[in-house]
């Protein structure tokens, strides 16, 4: 059984009188421990797919299952709990809370758990250590470079030990060097820690690091990597 199972998903937006069919019967499996890059032009539905998997959005019809749980059928409250346990999300524009330090930003997902203060501290130190920022814990986002901010965001995404890490254009606002650092970090998370990673990107350098590339165009995969039938 695949970690993520998308079956026959339809997704339609209505904008005014206009109907936009993003997906018409999309099916996809993402295996546990994989590193997948999702590519395609703007408007192809990449981000929508990511949102569906994260349970931020619902399919018009069809099912989205993650680790056996049917995401598309959960209530908003169930989704919130589920996300806190299973999904780490990274954005193009980092989206750190400017009023919190790096440490406090990484702590946010752990506040939803029953961990004690000491256990939380330990997990945060490990996460910030993994991204190489254990010397920047008390810095505020504005005191960090873009690459550092994104690494804090990744630490925040992995600190609760999620099943799945989803990244939406994580290198979109970074220079080449910072991009490389972030991508190396992602590869390491996949290799060393066995994290399942799904990344939406335009960046060929980013997709190059993935073990599987998917090209989405007008809501369908035009060409798929070798690991999926």
């Amino acid at each position: 059984m695949a970690l993520v199972e998308i079956r026959d998903v339809y997704k339609t937006f209505t904008r005014g009188a206009e109907r936009i069919d993003v997906f018409t019967g999309l099916t996809l499996d993402v295996e546990q421990g994989s590193f997948t890059a999702l590519m395609g032009p703007s408007g192809s539905g990449k981000s929508t797919l990511l949102n569906l998997i994260a349970g931020l959005d619902r399919p018009t019809s069809g099912t989205v299952r993650v680790n056996g749980a049917e995401v598309s059928a959960m209530t908003p409250a169930q989704l919130a709990t589920w996300r806190s346990e299973h999904v780490g999300f990274v954005f193009q524009s980092f989206n750190l809370l400017p009023v919190l330090t790096a440490f406090q930003n990484v702590e946010l997902p752990l506040l939803l758990t029953r961990l004690s203060k000491r256990e939380r501290d330990e997990r945060i130190r490990i996460a910030l250590g993994v991204v190489g920022l254990d010397d920047r814990m008390d810095h505020y986002p504005r005191q960090l470079s873009g690459g550092q901010e994104q690494r804090v965001a990744i630490a925040r995404a992995i600190v609760a030990d999620p099943t799945l890490v989803l990244l939406d254009e994580p290198t979109g606002q970074l220079d080449a060097k910072s991009s490389q650092e972030v991508l190396t970090l992602l590869a390491r998370l996949n290799d060393e820690f066995g994290k399942t990673i799904l990344i939406v990107t335009h960046d060929p350098a980013a997709s190059g690091r993935a073990r599987r590339q998917l090209h989405l165009e007008k809501g369908t995969f035009v060409e798929q990597g070798s690991l999926v039938p």
Partner: protein, 380 residues
């Protein structure tokens, strides 16, 4: 509370706004406590009075006198144990800018019936011995710097001329509703100088059992009904309460203003909360992607409003309580025993909670209902 650092960080985002909003709430509750205390203090004065004391006045109007000869007849009424009387003197001191009450009293029986006026034994003795002596409230000592043994001269407004008294004692009320700024002197001295008209302003009676008050009052009033000066007898409480009603609609006035104050500050707080929530739309959406539930975000926004209003309330109510205590405020004698009661403090606390709900509920609901995808897309 593990979300404390998040709340504190959010409040610190716009330090000035948070400070100004807290200050507004503090001012509003300070004002509320002050206005409310006017009402409670007047009410407390109306509550004051031993259930064992009755007051007998002239039925036609309390400013009209009764013959002092009624004293003997009142004493014989069954159930009456002690009788004393007093006269309003209406003295003016200096330029008369600071008014205080002056009474002529039948000193021995008066102090006997009012154990709430505590006087050192030697001073009491000295006052009783000296016909031209006066007994003053402790506040007058602070106000004018008067000392025991000193002579003070008042101008009589009702009884003409200069009246000089020797201060023989200082009393301290043990009940805050008793004026601590009155001057008392001997009835006999007044009566003699006024040419022995034999008038008493009002009588105070001590009775055996509070339960008999109504019956005794009726007996007295019936006894004097067809005399030249019919009487009206009631409990001391009712007598004091009738003064409280003389303030007219002050309660309504104070409550209305208090309501307007609280409402005005509600607008300020609500505005600040809405501004804060609006600026934070994207952050709220990010928290939702992390897994913060709608209910939790609702609670966090409300808690932020609550921190502001409750901090403001603690500051405002605390300042009111301490300020009036420390300055021994009594509105130039109009409101003896002025104090912010614990009931008022509790009401203030409830207002802070209402302010929290009223100012926080809309932003909190907006936060809870925020659609993540559109909120994130609108800025990306």
């Amino acid at each position: 509370m593990k979300f404390w650092s998040l709340l504190r960080a959010n409040l610190g985002r716009h330090k000035r706004r948070t400070f100004l909003t807290i200050a507004s709430v503090a001012l509003a509750l300070f004002l509320f406590a002050s206005l409310r205390s006017v009402i409670t203090t007047i009410g407390m004065a109306a509550q004051f009075g031993s259930a064992r004391r009755l007051v007998t006045t002239n039925a036609t109007g309390f400013v009209l006198p009764l013959p002092v000869s009624y004293a003997n007849r009142l004493e014989t009424v069954p159930g009456v144990e002690k009788v004393t009387w007093a006269n309003w003197f209406g003295g003016r001191y200096g330029d008369g800018k600071r008014f205080f009450a002056t009474f002529a009293v039948d000193a021995k029986s008066y102090l006997d019936i009012y154990p709430e006026m505590s006087v050192p034994a030697d001073q009491k003795e000295a006052f009783l011995q000296d016909k031209g002596g006066a007994l003053i409230g402790v506040r007058l000592v602070n106000l004018f710097g008067w000392k025991v043994g000193q002579n003070v001269t008042l101008q009589g407004t009702i009884f003409p001329g200069d009246w000089t008294f020797t201060i023989r004692g200082v009393y301290t009320p043990t009940d805050p509703a008793i004026n601590d700024d009155a001057l008392m002197f001997h009835y006999d001295y007044l009566d003699e100088r006024a040419g022995r008209p034999g008038n008493a302003g009002w009588y105070i009676l001590e009775i055996d059992k509070p339960d008999n008050a109504a019956q005794i009052a009726k007996t007295i009033d019936d006894q004097f009904r067809s005399s030249s000066a019919p009487t009206k007898t009631g409990t001391e409480q009712a007598f004091n309460a009738s003064f409280a009603t003389m303030w007219g609609n002050i309660g309504l006035l104070m409550n209305t203003i208090g309501l307007a104050v609280v409402f005005a500050i509600l607008l300020v707080t609500a505005n600040a909360m809405m501004m804060s929530a609006r600026e934070r739309t994207r952050e709220l959406a990010v928290l939702k992607t992390i897994g913060y539930s709608d209910r939790l975000l609702f609670g966090l926004v409300l808690a932020e409003a609550g921190l502001i209003t409750i901090t403001g309330a603690v500051l405002g109510l605390g300042a009111a309580k301490l300020l009036y205590r420390a300055t021994n405020f009594n509105a130039a004698g109009f409101l003896p025993g002025f104090d912010v009661s614990w009931g008022t403090m509790a009401t203030g606390g409830v207002i802070a909670l209402v302010l929290m709900l009223a100012s926080g509920i809309v932003p909190a609901m907006q936060a809870a209902r925020l659609p993540v995808v559109t909120a994130l897309r609108s800025v990306e």
